[in-house]
């Protein structure tokens, strides 16, 4: 039983990052009807900027909360700036163009990976632990740091879901995702909503990357695995569905931790791809993909 709880906690923790990641993909798909394959690079970029800034701040601020906060804001700002550039000069011109946006985002993956390798180097850039030690909870040993990261990710996800569900902006964003022309007929400035949606997705990617940074090996290829998993989560859950992104992420994370533990991690990956195939065969639009 203990084992099951431990695995559930692990799954929850991994899924929190997948959720933030796949919500970003979903937002971009919603407003522009394109898939941004370079989303993982923003995730990586956030983590790299965090580690770089943490290193630079260490002499003056140490490794405490203040340093994390400043470095986090730096990572966020850097990713938003990059996001703004790739939107204005790229995705804005390729909305609703699957082929064009695929070529653009595949190119951006190569470009960013090359640039980051050049600038940050290929070595692992460790981010110091935010908190040391473990806590005893429900009979589980949980690292304090992972617990804090999980709580933060859950709160952020809840905030995003609330924003989308109840605010004027969130409703406009959903309306645009359902039918952008009908949304414009209601007076919604589609272009502005698309830009904000895209930037929100970039901020989510950066935040997810920075949340995973202290417990992961931060290298210029950090985001690749997350892109694949996040994309699978979106496909399984249903492209464009917010509930689908959350459900898909949970499913992938559960498979990863349980199958990984009882069999082995490579079987877990295999299982994930088999699930994708089955879902695509049985329900081509994913679990919640209706509109």
């Amino acid at each position: 039983m203990q084992e099951v709880f431990q695995l559930l906690f692990t799954a929850l923790q991994i899924s929190a990052v997948y959720i933030l990641f796949s919500l970003g993909l979903t937002l971009i798909f919603g407003v522009l009807k394109v898939v941004n394959f370079a989303h993982g690079q923003l995730f990586t970029f956030g983590a790299l900027v965090l580690s770089l800034t943490m290193g630079a701040l260490a002499p003056s601020l140490g490794h405490g909360w203040a340093a994390y906060l400043v470095a986090g804001l730096a990572g966020l700002a850097a990713c938003l700036a990059v996001g703004l550039v790739i939107y204005q000069f790229g995705f804005k011109r390729l909305e609703r163009d699957m082929t064009g946006s695929f070529i653009l985002s595949a190119g951006l993956v190569l470009l960013f990976e090359g640039l980051m390798l050049e600038v940050f180097g290929g070595a692992v850039r460790p981010v110091p632990a935010l908190l040391e030690g473990n806590v005893q909870m429900l009979g589980l040993m949980v690292s304090r740091q992972r617990l804090v990261l999980l709580v933060f990710a859950v709160l952020l996800t809840a905030a995003i879901l609330t924003l989308l569900r109840y605010t004027r902006f969130g409703k406009a964003l959903r309306a645009v995702a359902i039918d952008y022309e009908a949304a414009m007929l209601q007076g919604i400035a589609y272009r502005r909503i698309a830009l904000y949606g895209f930037l929100m997705a970039c901020a989510l990617a950066a935040t997810a990357g920075m949340l995973i940074a202290p417990v992961a090996a931060v290298t210029p290829t950090l985001g690749d695995a997350y892109l694949v998993k996040g994309f699978i989560a979106v496909v399984v859950g249903g492209m464009g569905s917010i509930v689908g992104a959350v459900a898909g992420s949970l499913l992938i994370a559960l498979l990863e931790s349980f199958v990984g533990f009882y069999f082995d991690p490579s079987i877990a990956n295999l299982a994930i791809f088999v699930i994708v195939m089955v879902v695509l065969l049985v329900k081509p639009k994913g679990f919640f993909g209706n509109d």
């Binding site: 959903r174 359902i178 039918d179 414009m184 007929l185 007076g187 589609y190 509109d291």
Partner: protein, 239 residues
């Protein structure tokens, strides 16, 4: 020539790629009137409505409303000038509730009091929607959805309402409700431009009518006169 808040379309042409959809179409809608556009499938009625509301690009010609040029503006800008559209096929936000759909209609209205008044007015026009407010729009019947579509357009407090085939496929009871609401809002000073395939319904509710054929206006006149015109009777009324 045009009075305040009258819609004027001059020599308008729209094509889809190399295929012309409408050519040199001119029409005028006097403020406070109900004007209908009739014509067979593919005559260009919907294209004309889409051009007026900014959903398709105009190749040549001009659109003005209340003397202000609106040619090739974005749909959200055109709404700001007071022109609202009930689109063909309704195009509701299916996975949002009826209440949210109505709220989206009033997206540009910041004044909470005004929004609440409009909301009440819409429920007064369509009392059947009251119990449906928390339901998802795509769970409603076709007739109910059409009521939501009209109510959503009215939530923007338009001075002119465009309706693209609002009664297509609806049961007679719903056709009556929509026609009654159209007359009610007209009485409150809203100008109406109605696209209808059912020429009889269109000519009976409207003051003036334009007949479109193969992308061009072939006839126009007082609706009452067209209703008794032998050619119209033969071609569109099946008499």
């Amino acid at each position: 020539m045009a009075s305040d808040h009258a819609l004027a379309v001059r020599k308008l042409s729209v094509s889809y790629g190399p295929v012309p959809a409408i050519t040199d179409v001119s029409l005028e809608v006097q403020s406070g009137s109900i004007v209908s556009l009739i014509g067979a499938n593919g005559a260009g009625k919907s294209t004309l409505i889409k051009a007026i509301t900014g959903l398709v690009k105009v190749k040549a010609g001009e659109i003005a409303y209340g003397g202000k040029p609106l040619t090739n503006r974005q749909p959200n800008i055109i709404l700001e000038h007071g022109i609202a559209l009930v689109p063909e096929g309704r195009r509701l936000f299916g996975s949002m509730t009826v209440r949210e759909n109505l709220e989206m209609g009033a997206y540009r209205i910041a004044d909470a009091k005004k929004k609440a008044d409009l909301f009440d007015a819409c429920l007064h026009y369509f009392p059947d929607l009251k119990v449906k407010l928390p339901s998802l729009a795509n769970s409603l019947s076709g007739g109910q959805q059409q009521m939501v579509a009209v109510a959503r357009a009215l939530m923007s407090a338009p001075s002119m309402l465009l309706l693209d085939e609002p009664t297509i496929g609806l049961a007679p009871a719903f056709v009556n409700v929509i026609s009654r609401v159209m007359r009610d809002i007209h009485q409150q000073g809203v100008t109406v431009l109605l696209v209808e395939q059912n020429a009889e319904v269109a000519l009976r509710v409207s003051d003036y009518s334009y007949v479109l054929e193969s992308g061009a206006v072939v006839m126009h006149g007082r609706a009452e006169d067209l209703l008794h015109d032998p050619d119209i009777k033969k071609a569109y009324l099946g008499l």
